[in-house]
């Protein structure tokens, strides 16, 4: 009976009460989500006298980028007053190699786990999976001791290694799940033709993995850029990432708090992941779902 339903009765009017309710709810939610970004932007474009008037939501009378310039080049991040630009470049220098290497490792791991399972691969994978859920706090202290012993604590190499290690569970999982969905015949055919481990990886599997690699790049870039804890502990004084310097600017100011500079610095820190989010669209959502383990 359910297979042949044709619409009957009058066409519902476009603006029924229910429709108004739907749009009302969505508009309210939209305002809630938009307000912080709006406040961040208008505050950063105001001068301090205007901010002291207390009109948080008012548009700036005389929009100026002075606070942005100060945040970028002069704001005090603890000891020095060179602005957040040092942190920006530190974050770039930390993020790029961390993303590249963690994705390479994740792809190789996923490939080995999907097509070339060595003895005990299950156990290793289970431990890694468990690692995806372990709070950093549980392993951080021994890791500090170890890196100190080998002389990498507080160095760029150290923080990149740390990001690679902590990114490995999710990257491995992402690639393994993707490779599991590739047709096995492809792989078999290559093996019959005598292709080896690396040949199949570079010539057959990786060219098919562009979508999953894009997802991985988005996931890792935003994740590592937004990291605070690992950067604070492992990066060392000369490599502190942008998030750490941002927090220093805002929380360690003496005297008058310059809210416009704070918000400009906050915007500067948020711009990179925000841009990635807006450009990547649906890939970003896929990246989120990648954290979801298929049961």
């Amino acid at each position: 009976m359910a297979h042949d339903i044709t619409p009957s009765g009058p066409k519902p009017s476009r603006l029924s009460v229910a429709r108004i309710g739907v749009y009302g709810f969505l508009a309210m939610s939209a305002i809630f989500f938009a307000i912080p970004l709006y406040v961040m932007i208008v505050t950063s474009l105001k001068g301090m006298p205007e901010i002291r008037l207390g009109d948080l939501f008012a548009l700036p009378n005389d929009p100026s980028f002075a606070a942005w310039v100060k945040a970028w080049a002069q704001a005090c991040t603890g000891v020095s007053c060179n602005g957040i630009h040092e942190g920006f470049w530190n974050s770039v220098v930390i993020t790029v190699p961390s993303v590249v290497f963690s994705i390479m490792l994740g792809a190789i791991n996923g490939y080995a786990l999907s097509f070339w399972r060595f003895k005990g691969a299950n156990i290793v994978f289970a431990i890694l999976l468990f690692g995806a859920f372990v709070p950093f706090q549980v392993v951080i202290y021994p890791l500090i001791i170890f890196l100190r012993e080998v002389g990498l604590y507080g160095s760029l190499t150290g923080i990149v290694l740390v990001h690679m290690a902590f990114g490995m569970p999710i990257m491995t999982l992402l690639f393994r799940n993707y490779f599991s969905s590739l047709p096995e015949e492809l792989f078999k055919a290559a093996r019959v033709d005598g292709a080896g481990f690396w040949q199949i990886f570079f010539q057959i599997v990786m060219p098919l993995s562009v979508p999953v690699t894009v997802v991985a790049v988005i996931l890792q870039t935003t994740g590592i850029w937004n990291d605070y804890l690992l950067g604070l502990i492992f990066a060392g004084h000369d490599n502190l990432p942008m998030t750490v310097q941002l927090n220093n600017i805002v929380t360690t100011t003496f005297g008058v708090r310059e809210y416009n500079v704070n918000m400009a610095a906050t915007m500067l820190t948020a711009i990179v992941p925000l841009a990635i989010y807006l450009i990547s669209g649906k890939y970003f959502v896929r990246g989120i779902a990648a954290g979801a383990v298929k049961g």
């Binding site: 339903i5 739907v22 709810f25 969505l26 939610s29 939209a30 989500f33 912080p36 002291r52 948080l56 190789i108 080995a112 786990l113 070339w116 399972r117 060595f118 003895k119 691969a121 299950n122 431990i127 890694l128 999976l129 468990f130 690692g131 859920f133 372990v134 709070p135 706090q137 549980v138 392993v139 202290y141 021994p142 500090i144 170890f146 290690a165 490995m168 491995t172 599991s180 096995e184 078999k188 019959v192 937004n226 804890l229 502990i233 998030t243 805002v250 704070n262 918000m263 906050t266 820190t269 992941p273 925000l274 989010y277 807006l278 970003f284 989120i288 954290g291 979801a292 383990v293 049961g295």
Partner: protein
């Protein structure tokens, strides 16, 4: 089930020697993975647990004291408060994110205009770091220049919205910021789930005259169990790692009002120089993860022992 490698070697009739060689290459390629898995998640975690049974202060020392650190931990006000805070914050965070995310997904599913615009707006906070989130909300919750002031100037004198300066309410200030940041995630997952629901279900419900909201709540929602579990897992992981948000928004204060276990551990291994106690706290954080995730991983991945 047979692994790919087994199947292949049989099909192509390769010698055992070749198979061994291939297995060896795969093992070499997997060395970093093995090192990280064993080194970081077994040895490091084990080392942390070991240190929790010692009197280590600034550096690791192996002067065993049994369960002393745990006794001290649970009689430390700061820790007990942290755990209480985490339980309040965590349960409310999960409930609010799930409800808000589900509602937003359902409303977006009503063939609305500007769906992409709304979706982009609901999810963008999730792309931003928790430090950014904490600092923005700290500014908006500022007592004399923030939202409270704006509403009071409009004439509503008794309006109060400055939770961060009130020890009773500070945790809810964190909660608002956290829900703002994460509920879009649930929305995105749920919307994808809703789109995957068979349209026949909707037709059948229409024919039976079931109201739309009941269909969503009692038919569609139970069908989305996997999405719910995914959301729940991601939110739980976020709860345990709440460190960044607290540090940026309140620094744990006022008083101990927003202290969290994650911050307790970091404080004790850095500024407070009490590694033994910190590691006991870390072990307590590991325990629920082990109890929940451990059996599940074992059942799904070790026992089955095949490609999922």
């Amino acid at each position: 089930m047979k692994t790919n490698a087994d199947v292949l070697t049989q099909n192509t009739g390769n010698s055992t020697r070749k198979r061994k060689k291939l297995n060896f290459t795969s093992l070499i390629a997997s060395t970093p993975m093995i090192i990280v898995a064993i080194g970081l998640f077994v040895i490091c975690a084990g080392y942390s647990i070991m240190l929790s049974f010692t009197k280590s202060k600034l550096f690791p020392k192996f002067n065993w004291v049994g369960f002393d650190q745990y006794e001290r931990l649970w009689s430390t006000t700061r820790w007990v408060t942290s755990v209480e805070n985490l339980l309040i914050y965590g349960s409310l965070f999960i409930i609010f994110c799930l409800v808000a995310g589900f509602l937003m997904a359902v409303f977006l599913d009503q063939k609305v205009r500007f769906e992409n615009g709304f979706r982009t707006l609901f999810l963008y906070p999730y792309a931003m770091s928790l430090v950014v989130t904490g600092l923005v909300w700290q500014w908006m919750m500022e007592p004399s220049l923030g939202i409270q002031n704006v509403v009071q100037e409009l004439g509503w004198e008794s309006f109060r919205f400055a939770p961060l300066v009130n020890p009773e309410l500070a945790i809810y200030g964190i909660l608002i910021a956290a829900v703002w940041q994460s509920s879009g995630l649930v929305m995105a997952l749920m919307l994808a789930g809703l789109r995957g629901v068979d349209s026949e279900i909707w037709k059948a419900a229409k024919v039976d005259g079931i109201p739309t909201w009941r269909t969503y709540l009692f038919i569609v929602l139970p069908m989305m169990r996997p999405v719910l579990i995914t959301s729940l897992v991601l939110l739980c992981v976020g709860v345990v790692r709440v460190y960044d948000l607290v540090v940026a928004q309140t620094g744990g204060g006022p008083g101990m009002a927003t202290e969290m276990p994650a911050k307790f551990v970091i404080d004790h291994i850095t500024v407070r120089n009490n590694v033994g106690l910190g590691m006991a706290a870390a072990t307590m954080m590991l325990l629920p993860v082990l109890l929940v995730i451990g059996p599940w991983i074992y059942r799904e991945y070790v026992k089955k022992g095949s490609r999922a």
